[in-house]
């Protein structure tokens, strides 16, 4: 038996990786189990299992990684198929420290799957992960934390807590992200840790990297969604980071911010739905509504995400706009939502559900896209019905004729469920739009002769509802329907007809008793709802026309008295007491007529999506129309706005923090680039884009940044403008290069030395990195003597060492294609404390790519690079106003870039504007007649293409900047730089 079982297991396992013959394998196993049953003592079962995985264990214990890997692959294949492999736990866990990465990964998969069942053994692996947490490589630290936190063993909660806390202040943002992911895991394992976890969340919320933002908000939503106060200080930062966060994080953040905004801001549609009087009173009482700038910030920063390829992101923004935006602005989301309708069926389904809800409240929004909701015969039924719902919601006086024509096509569809839904939709259109009621009714009556019974039945039900609105005019239809009782079998339809005849029996006095006669005959074979309506009809006829129907009524009531259904028996008894006068019957008898033949209000046909918008749109709860577990209620707008200053972030403290970080970074600098690059991605990217190859610019950078902060100190209340572009990379393209650095440089350098007052200087080699040799450079803006196509770069070298520096020269320039460098003549001696100034020429080929070369002394060589700001790639030209206009006329269309900007407070006078602009770019002023316009012209140095700049001041401090140049890249970058110079 044992050997047979082993053979069987071998067989099934050999099949495992290919999984081709699953069924065969399964059959074998069942065979084996049947064999096992007669010997089923505890020991034997254990033995069986032991032998079953014997070969796997052997493989796991071997020294060869390939065998281990093969074994792990088979085990994972078993897990994937849902088979139990828990008995291999000890053998697998031994390999947790295996060198082979794939084996290790598969062991992790196994461990996380079974740790909960084998808690004691799982503890054996913990030390490996604890070691991993201390690894110098950030990715290994992250992966150790990820697995450790996934092991659902309560004993290790304190270890996890400690690990998370440590990881939350890790230098690597990736590890911090993993820490954020670990928080909900720990919380679900032990909710007592909540307070400590909230502290970690608070800390991580303050993180400035996009990598962490999405994950920590996710943790926030799972652990403490009610702690809205934690968001205040991070609100603006989250808004500004949003566009750069990965797409899944965006969804979570947007949903959270929707809730936040509902608690913190005032409704932008306050006057909605209140009557005029109340409105007037309101206006008198409170001041006019002004949108909080933070509210505006959120709306502005989420809008571009409507263009996301991810349907979930688009939906999240759409719901944010629906819940938060002023009525006039909500329209923008319609286009994006309609776009999603082209997507997969399941996406369509969810989007249509939400559109259905939105279209009730804001019909106008989707009206232009009416045709996008037209139905194709190939749509699945559930999509058809949802589209129909939307079409019905969108129907109004103007478009109803088109919609009804469309409905006519649908009625002939082969899909009968859909036809029934269409008939109901027609009914709804008819009740909502009085104009077309008769047309609809006629159309529906025609359907009564349809061959399909379902269609007829549905029409009857809808006609009944419509007739109830104006019965007097339609006795013909009622008669027609009375005839239908002979043919139609659908209970609901029969019941509807009977109710109609009973209700309006005075309109059809001759037919009604006859119908009752027929129904009395077939009473016993009818469905329950029909029986109830027969009794109803009998009662009503008895009251209005007792002469003809007295006996019939008695007969029906007698039949009902012995019916199987107690409801029907009860109803019969009740009605008999009410209508047939006996000596016992009381006061009610007199009122029987009033009771039965009272005016009944016509039913209102409503959309099933009405009022669903009290659920946050896009949520699971909205879709199910029921509160899902963990759903966070969308709060109503507050009546009074809470204090907006809670969102202000104090700048000085941040600066200190920054400084501290900088210090840390400096300390680490000598350890090599890696340590520095890990401090934070933000910083890493700045350092990399400023001066590649030299790490030591940090001190100067810190100072510059400080100046910038100080300059901005005055406008703390104003939200920081959104970050420009989602990308900034190591070999960052010219367009994405962060520009703001240049401006602070100006201030800082003007203070430095009068000789450089007009131009900015940049650092080529820092004193520390250059071992005492400091090199600065500036663009002198004079034509380079040797070659007119070169940009003159003035280089100032100072020797801060106490020895002489010899043979200073440029070596091995490595220009990019087309770029040329004219070296400066070698400086033979530079005495300690001395400063030398030389000029070199570089032809940048009209691009902002850096020119790299080596700066050599007699002992050392330094790799340096010069990267020109775009404004230095040109030289001023002087031209008349007419010439300017003529040239501008040639550079229209694609070559023209226009941008609006706000002039900063400093840039209000003519003088400062011109000064700021000319310092940002090397251009010459062109005379101009109009007082509110400034014109400048320049030619690019290499190719000599014209660059024309026009700045037009508008009212207030707005202005419009136009740049005409056939070099579009230069134009674009120049726009950015100029706006930077003028707006700050």
């Amino acid at each position: 038996w044992v050997s047979a079982s082993v053979a069987a297991s071998r067989h099934s396992l050999a099949g495992a990786p290919s999984l081709g013959g699953t069924s065969a394998g399964r059959k074998k196993q069942t065979n084996k189990q049947t064999k096992k049953t007669p010997l089923k003592t505890g020991k034997n079962v254990k033995m069986g299992i032991f032998f079953r995985h014997d070969d796997l264990k052997e493989m796991l214990d071997s020294n060869k990684d390939s065998l281990k890997l093969e074994a792990m692959k088979r085990i994972v294949a078993m897990i994937a198929r849902g088979k139990n492999a828990s008995d291999l736990f000890p053998a697998v866990v031994k390999n947790v420290a295996c060198k082979n990465i794939e084996v290790k990964k598969l062991v992790y998969v196994y461990l996380v799957r079974y740790a909960e069942e084998q808690q004691d053994l799982a503890l054996l692996s913990i030390s490996t992960f604890q070691r991993g947490l201390k690894d110098p490589n950030q990715l290994i630290r992250a992966s150790a934390l990820r697995v450790l936190s996934s092991i659902r063993v309560p004993i290790i909660v304190p270890i996890m807590m400690l690990a998370i806390k440590e990881a939350a202040s890790d230098m690597s943002p990736y590890v911090r992200k993993t820490a954020a992911h670990a928080i909900p895991k720990l919380y679900s394992l032990d909710s007592d840790q909540k307070d400590q976890l909230i502290e970690v969340i608070e800390k991580l919320l303050a993180d400035k990297t996009t990598l962490v933002a999405g994950s920590v908000v996710m943790a926030f939503e799972e652990v403490c969604p009610e702690r809205i106060d934690l968001i205040h200080k991070n609100y603006r930062k989250l808004c500004n980071l949003l566009i750069d966060v990965e797409e899944w994080g965006q969804v979570v953040i947007i949903n959270m911010l929707t809730r936040y905004a509902r608690t913190q801001f005032l409704s932008p549609n306050q006057n909605d739905g209140k009557d005029a009087k109340a409105e007037a009173a309101m206006l008198a009482k409170c001041k006019p509504y002004v949108m909080d700038p933070d509210h505006r910030l959120l709306l502005r920063n989420t809008k571009p995400l409507l263009q996301s390829r991810n349907a979930a992101v688009v939906m999240a923004v759409a719901q944010l706009y629906f819940h938060l935006a002023p009525k006039a602005e909500v329209g923008v989301i319609a286009k994006a939502l309609v776009r999603l309708l082209r997507s997969h069926r399941s996406v369509q389904y969810v989007v249509l559900q939400n559109v259905a809800t939105m279209s009730i409240k804001r019909r106008g929004m989707f009206e232009p896209y009416l045709k996008s909701f037209y139905i194709r015969s190939t749509d699945p039924t559930q999509i058809k019905i949802l589209k129909l719902e939307v079409l019905t919601n969108l129907a109004n006086e103007t478009n109803i004729s088109t919609i009804l024509r469309e409905f006519q096509t649908y009625i002939r569809s082969m899909d009968k469920d859909f036809v029934a839904a269409t008939i109901q939709a027609i009914g709804r259109c008819a009740t909502n739009i009085g104009k077309v009621r008769d047309t609809c009714l006629n159309g529906l009556v025609q359907l009564l002769s349809n061959r399909d019974e379902l269609v007829v039945a549905e029409s009857v039900v809808v006609i009944k509802k419509l007739l109830q609105m104006q019965p007097a005019q339609h006795s013909e239809i009622i008669k027609h329907m009375a005839k239908l009782t002979d043919n139609i079998q659908v209970p609901m339809a029969r019941a509807s007809i009977l109710w109609l005849i009973g209700e309006y029996c005075e309109h059809v006095p001759k037919i009604a008793p006859d119908v009752l006669r027929k129904m009395a005959k077939s009473f016993t074979n009818e469905e329950d709802i029909v029986k109830l309506q027969v009794i109803n009809l009998a009662a009503k006829l008895y009251l209005t026309n007792s002469k003809q129907s007295k006996l019939l009524t008695q007969y029906v009531l007698n039949l009902a008295k012995y019916d199987q259904n107690y409801d029907i028996r009860d109803r019969a008894r009740f009605i008999r007491q009410l209508i047939v006068p006996t000596e016992k019957s009381g006061a009610l008898n007199k009122y029987a007529k009033k009771l039965f033949l009272a005016q009944k209000p016509a039913p209102i046909l409503e959309s099933s999506f009405k009022d669903r918008d009290h659920f946050q749109l896009g949520s699971l709860s909205h879709l199910l129309n029921a509160k899902a577990v963990g759903y966070q209620e969308l709060p109503d707008w507050p009546d009074e706005a809470p204090d907006p200053s809670v969102r202000n972030v104090e700048v000085p403290s941040e600066e200190e923090e920054e400084e501290e970080r900088e210090k840390k970074a400096k300390k680490k600098a000598p350890q090599g680039r890696k340590g520095r690059a890990e401090t934070s991605s933000e910083e890493a990217s700045t350092s990399e884009s400023s001066s590649s190859g030299s790490d030591s610019g940090s001190e100067a950078e810190a100072k510059q940044r400080k100046v910038m902060r100080a300059g901005m100190g005055g406008c703390t209340g104003i939200p920081v403008p959104p970050i420009e572009l989602p990308i900034s990379t190591p070999c960052s393209p010219p367009a994405a290069r962060p520009a703001p650095r240049r401006f602070p440089c100006l201030i800082w350098m003007t203070l430095l030395s009068p000789a450089f007052s007009a131009v900015k200087t940049y650092e080529l080699l820092h004193r520390m990195a250059g071992e005492g040799l400091a090199v600065e450079y500036c663009f002198s803006r004079r034509p380079f003597p040797g070659d007119p196509h070169m940009v003159a770069v003035q280089i100032q070298i100072s020797n801060n060492t106490d020895t002489e520096v010899k043979n200073l020269r440029v070596n091995e320039p490595k220009p990019l294609s087309g770029m040329r460098i004219q070296e400066f003549p070698e400086i033979e001696h530079l005495a300690p404390g001395d400063t030398a100034s030389v000029v070199m020429g570089i032809d940048f080929c009209d691009s902002t790519q850096a020119a790299n070369f080596q700066l050599c002394t007699h002992t050392r060589q330094f790799y340096v690079s010069i990267q020109p700001p775009v404004g230095e790639l040109m030289a001023p030209v002087f031209m008349s106003e007419n010439e300017f206009k003529k040239e501008q006329g040639k550079l229209m269309g694609m070559s023209e870039i226009t941008e609006k900007l706000m002039l900063s407070e400093k840039c209000q006078s003519d003088h400062t504007i011109v000064q700021q602009l000319t310092s940002a770019a090397n251009v010459g002023r062109v005379p101009c007649g109009a007082s509110n316009e400034y014109r400048f012209a320049a030619k690019t140095v290499t190719s000599g293409s014209l660059v024309l700049i026009t700045l037009e001041r508008r009212e207030g401090s707005t202005a419009q900047l136009t740049i005409n140049s056939e070099k579009m890249v230069i134009g674009t970058m120049l726009v950015k730089d100029i706006i930077q110079a003028l707006a700050q």
């Binding site: 992790y108 776009r339 997969h344 002939r412 699971l620 963990g630 393209p733």
Partner: protein
């Protein structure tokens, strides 16, 4: 968020399960099977099903149901979009997303699922990052692996996850640097009985295949960008640049990806490249009917319309069809009642025609509705909206790439009502 995932084939076998939190028993799928039974056909299975303790959110792709188990509130589209991303990844890795492909590569599938979600929250969904972590299987590699015993898990660490352009791997190298763009436009239309257009719209996508070394920074501009009314972007595109200049500026992912999808503004009249003349009628007493359809070219901008296929879902009462086609071949499936006519190329000299008799079930009432005709076609070297790529520039790298743009117009959901 996402608790577990079950993959179920059409015959109702659960052939893969993965849990990201504690294990959920397979029996939860019974609720799904119940709903599936109720829905009659697969298209009508509701994507969201509520059960007493869980919610099931499912998608149906390539004959596989991806059923995810949810325990708490989560935006349904979040899960649906993620599941589609999973299916796309399988497609990308194995060339097809089928039951056999998944079963054959079960270990890779498991490794992928492990990386894509952490505790139910998406972690790495970009194909470039995933490919750095887990190498896709190739025949050569599987042979090499089985000999040397090396693994298909990348031994480099996923640097992409740390970069702020997660969609591109570092250190890409090609000997031939190429960038291809396919501008594919689809016409969605409903044509009514009389041949007039009820609804027509052009939807387009630009699919790219980019094999460029290093970190190229591309910018793609159009002759007439104003045509693009509503655009959705791959995350690599700089939105601000598009807003201000209508230029697509981006550092591309490596390999195949969809750059943008767009809708052409609805003010423009849509050219309908084909017309259909049809005569379909059923007679009550003889239980037969006539079928006569001709397809001809209309506004096709001087290009040939090719790959024309017509599919018709005939009414249930149709037993058989006896037709003659002047061009191409037709098939009629008496079980599903689907008529397919593969026409091929349309030549204006001799218009393709399909004509003949329809046999109805005797005694059955004559069908009330004429079936609608679904048309597919293709026009090479034409973007029907007139969209044209102006130029592609590359910055950041020194080599000269080979560039190519291809235009195709296709029928999307093109339906003629009869």
């Amino acid at each position: 968020m996402i608790h577990s995932l079950f993959l179920i084939n059409c015959s109702g076998d659960i052939f893969l399960e993965k849990h990201w939190k504690s294990v959920v028993s397979q029996s939860v799928c019974d609720y799904f099977f119940e709903a599936q039974e109720k829905a009659i056909d697969v298209e009508n299975v509701p994507p969201v099903i509520s059960t007493p303790h869980h919610y099931l959110i499912s998608i149906y792709r390539d004959k596989i149901f991806f059923v995810s188990v949810i325990q708490t509130e989560v935006p349904p589209l979040f899960v649906i979009e993620f599941l589609h991303r999973v299916a796309d990844t399988f497609q990308d890795y194995f060339g097809e997303c089928s039951e056999t492909a998944i079963k054959d590569n079960v270990v890779i599938v498991y490794e992928l699922l492990e990386e894509m979600l952490d505790n139910g929250f998406p972690l790495a969904t970009e194909s470039n990052i995933l490919k750095e972590l887990i190498k896709p299987p190739t025949i050569l590699r599987s042979v090499v692996n089985s000999i040397t015993g090396s693994s298909n898990v990348g031994d480099t660490l996923p640097t992409g996850q740390l970069s702020n352009i997660p969609w591109r791997r570092a250190g890409v190298k090609y000997t031939n640097n190429e960038a291809y763009f396919d501008v594919i436009e689809e016409i969605d239309a409903i044509i009514d009985k009389s041949g007039s257009t009820v609804f027509a719209e052009i939807q387009g996508v630009i699919d790219s295949c980019i094999k460029l070394s290093g970190m190229p920074d591309l910018s793609l501009s159009f002759m007439n960008p104003r045509l693009l009314d509503d655009v959705s972007f791959h995350p690599c595109i700089r939105f601000k640049r598009w807003e201000s200049e209508r230029v697509l500026s981006f550092i591309p992912p490596d390999g195949n990806f969809r750059l943008i999808s767009y809708r052409v503004s609805s003010q423009n009249l849509v050219a309908i490249p084909v017309y259909v003349k049809h005569m379909i009628s059923f007679k009550e007493n003889t239980s037969s009917g006539r079928f006569d359809v001709t397809i001809g070219p209309k506004q096709n901008m001087g290009k040939t319309v090719e790959g024309v296929v017509m599919t018709v879902h005939m009414p249930k009462a149709v037993l058989n069809m006896n037709l003659t086609a002047t061009q191409g071949s037709y098939t009629f499936d008496p079980v599903t009642k689907v008529l397919t006519w593969d026409v091929g190329k349309i030549t204006p000299q001799k218009l393709p025609n399909l004509k003949g008799m329809v046999n109805l079930q005797s005694g059955a009432p004559k069908p009330e509705e004429n079936p609608s005709l679904n048309i597919q076609f293709k026009i090479q070297q034409l973007a029907i909206s007139g969209l044209k790529v102006n130029r592609l520039d590359m910055y950041g790298e020194k080599y000269k790439p080979f560039k190519g743009v291809k235009y195709i117009t296709k029928a999307g959901k093109f339906q003629v009502r009869t």
